[in-house]
Symmetry: D3
Subunit: 235 residues, 6 copies
């Protein structure tokens, strides 16, 4: 990411990002997951992934966590600060993907956020942290019951979206968007511009203006009004 | 609707309405959708519908919105004040049914509320408007990805319920009920009476009274108590 | 339950309980249901069950509630104080499992909480009671549309878990755990101990400590620190 | 059942039965399950039920089958000849409801058929028996993994339909209908009449006749043709 | 459709058609429905649609069929010979979309086939007709229980695909493809060519040839072999 | 696998294997997938896996197949003879996992079978090959629409089961079982013994014997009868 891209992405919505990506031909970039703390800061950062497969009784006993090389535990210690910890839980929330202590560790280490298409346990405690975490629903059972962690930082599926390590994840109160790494800068730029325009439209419409000719701006008479507004707003 | 029906419906719950409709033989009138703003005023108004089918790549590019006759955009401008904008999204929340700007326009135009069995985008902004909107879940992606708007104000399916233009939609914190237009007045009347009775029962039960003989009122001894209470409450 | 077990269970999370039960070989004890009032007190108590099957039009008219022997109405009057009213709704939330008046009666009678794998109606009112109730989602329609109540206090299925009368139900903000009756005391004991340890770990990790060697505690150097902390905390 | 009812029911389709039941107000009587042997004889007989709940690891080990009182094993020995063995598997086909040996025993004992809303194991062998068995899909895993058998011959849910002991189950290549016991005779009678009429209609339509006026028979000119046909066919 | 297009489409598979449509940017053209008679002739013809919404008890009694203007009954009489009768059943197979007599009438009238994303009743009889009909699964209950027929020959959703009147429906043993009307000729042409090529590849691979360089044909050495084969086969 | 294990596994059912694995604590080993050719030979062989994630429009165009290193194409050429090609399609059958030509190549190369938890295209042709292939349902659309192939021969999820390279896959008319590699020999041995016993039981029960005391064999009087039968049968 270029300088400034992270800041721009923190000011645009996932809705706007999906439109910008749709213009480039991307139709499947939204992870319909819920923020545990809707009032947490925006989530922005490159994906660092953990992959799971269904657990097996002989491989997934409580002792596995004694091994510091266990992928979940290693990932929690090695996910780079500023990155987003993305867990492919195969959409299975019958057991937890991680819990309060690991999330606390990720937060303490400066990781930008955590995402699973399963569920987190200790979810009330995680919600209280005010840190960006997204899941499908709360799930108390220990992950060993259904999840076997296999590897770190490989391309994964999460909530039906392909997530490649380094892709830029952006989350707001609505869910998460995955932006392919190589276009993150241009997408951030265009989404930022689009946001300024939509703020203008929103203000006009709230004041009683019709959407006709304004959204999209097919009436050229709206152009100078927009430009004046933008100047006035210093944006 | 007769004078007073709207006011009565604004004071009864969807739960009570389903019971009154069940007495008349209606078993499938509840749309299990979530209010974006649970503290918004009750939703009451006749249905004005938008119908969609799955999108097609050659028909549903971003340019379609430049056409003022596009059904979604036209509907947002033409839905009558006081009506409820009901979108048949075929239960598909993979893409948005509408977003913050269109909802703002509907609100500004005096429309009573909006309902989709898909999802709204910009849902945190919509939630903050304190206006009655209901959906299945938040959905950021632009509607063009999955929804092709076909027509306005025809009978539709929404959340598994048949909704005919003019049917009276009533929503509370629990979801939405669709009342067939021709019986809305009598249903409102009976639900209002039933609500007074249930308020009495609720008060008695909270005070420790058994439900036996009271709910339903099979013990005639409860009758004068109820009548006295009602008089005292001025209802 | 032994003296003290209820108090201990009120201080442990469902997440911790699933781990303690997993150690004993139990993999399917979590009911993934939502609390209507997330800030309500913890739910703890033995299960008292109501079983339903799909309704039939000739058996399930509004008159059935006039019969005081109707299992739902009888159950609401007979569920012992301190017990938890567990309704097997076959995971069907298309119609309500119960509503505000019955929940008010249960609360007034000193019942500890209510659980259904369907939905409650009058859910905003129930949520406002601050009493522990759990369901899959709100559901306004009267139960008669889809539920026929058959019997009380037999083993049932609820949210995919087998619940036997007397099993100890524990609920927090995440959902509900069902503890087999005969091991409730020992599970409470171990979960309580585990909670003290995890509180310690949580505090250390929040302060920047790695999870390596600490969680699980494979590094013996952490042992005296824990013991000192525990002494200091008076736990 | 009256004499002759079983024979009549063996000649009518589940489709016709649902229409006859719909006329009497019954809307939910069809179990959408697949016959393992589509060419097997029609299934007709009164329901004898087995109820299950989710298994529990301490209750459902392989040893349970050593107990002759285990409800599944007892049910297989006690289900009356001519009855239909209906298993409430809670719609869960992750583990088998029963397998080839038990089905062989039921068949040998003169039971009329078997139904589960889960799955049978050894399904290719069962299919080869040419005996009426219905399930949701094949399922190899032993029932102990997910099913705990609780009781026999109580009202149950099966495939979303309430089945009371003694209700008359009728199955054809399309699925199964549950007829409330007390109306089985009149339903059989009317369905038999309806079948004769539809056979006539089918023949006429195959020969090129319009359905208008014929189906339903709103044109009285068709009446004598039908009567003549019926006489000629000796029905 | 141009002359010859129907014949070409009758010789290509739905798999090949999806690839040809994918090249043109169409990603959602396949209706994953099952043929009732897998050995029936290929289905080819323009769509003629019937739209339904959820039934309502006061609108959908058995008497509605006495009205020759009822959309289902009118559609069955008016669907043009050679066309395909496509029913939008909202993916709801709890009640039938149509049954044996109506299908017989469609067949007798020269209609090319029938499709529903719900279920047909009398499905064993329909299967025996050897006529192209597709559905999700068998469904005995009368359509009135869940389906209210609203209009004919409007754009509809079927099995998650947008179907516009006149679109060319092609079905084989695998399911159905919907080809936008305006490109049907060119798609038929290209699919036909592709089929000849794939027949060649299939033959070579069955004889032991690697797919490398052959499929796709990146090795130019395969070109003259293909051309010779094609000449020899007279295709 | 030891000599003889493959032969033994070809004679036991998936039902019997799940029981033998359950005794060893394995509860989740069955892939509920359908054989395309139910009359094909038993599937037996070690797993060789292909992993997919959701497709992305810029990565998954038709050109990717020109690259001989594309994992799907490479896997089809490199899967060892005698192995089973297992595709993790994330349970997504909206697009094909592979089609007739690739399956033909696998068969020609001596691969033992193919499994996907998505769908195969050209499924009628594959079914006609009489070769063991299993999927969730037919799916015509080209895999590029939804599947991006990532790597070969890593642990994967398939139909909700963890499959590690080298695990022994066994399929019959009911579905597929995955046997952990290290216990395949002992499981084959025990399942073979169990099969002999169940054949005996089946024969006895078909002849009218009760299951009591016989299945399981709690009555020691049955022991010598079994031993005599086994001797007589030469098994």
């Amino acid at each position: 990411m270029k300088d400034g891209t992270r800041a721009k992405l923190a000011q645009v919505s996932t809705a706007t990002l999906t439109t910008v990506l749709f213009k480039r031909g991307f139709r499947n970039v939204f992870l319909a997951l819920s923020p545990l703390a809707p009032e947490a800061p925006r989530l922005v950062g490159p994906a660092y992934t953990l992959r799971t497969i269904p657990a097996r009784e002989d491989l997934d006993g409580l002792d596995v966590f004694k091994d510091p090389a266990h992928p979940q535990r290693r990932g929690v210690e090695e996910c780079p600060p500023g990155a987003v910890f993305v867990i492919d839980s195969r959409g299975d929330a019958r057991a937890a993907s991680a819990g309060g202590i690991l999330i606390t560790r990720l937060k303490a280490r400066g990781v930008a956020g955590a995402i699973t298409d399963g569920g987190f346990r200790d979810s009330p405690e995680i919600a209280a942290m005010g840190w960006p975490a997204y899941h499908a629903r709360p799930s108390a059972p220990t992950n060993l019951i259904h999840h076997h962690c296999v590897d770190l930082n490989v391309p994964v599926a999460c909530a039906g979206v392909g997530v490649h390590p380094g892709d830029i994840m952006v989350g707001d109160g609505e869910g998460v968007v995955c932006i392919p790494a190589q276009i993150a800068d241009e997408v951030a730029e265009e989404a930022f511009e689009q946001t300024v325009f939509e703020d203008f439209v929103q203000e006009r419409v709230a004041a009683g203006h019709t959407i006709r000719g304004l959204y999209p701006m097919t009436d050229p008479a709206n152009r100078p009004i927009y430009e004046a507004w933008r100047k006035a707003m210093g944006r």
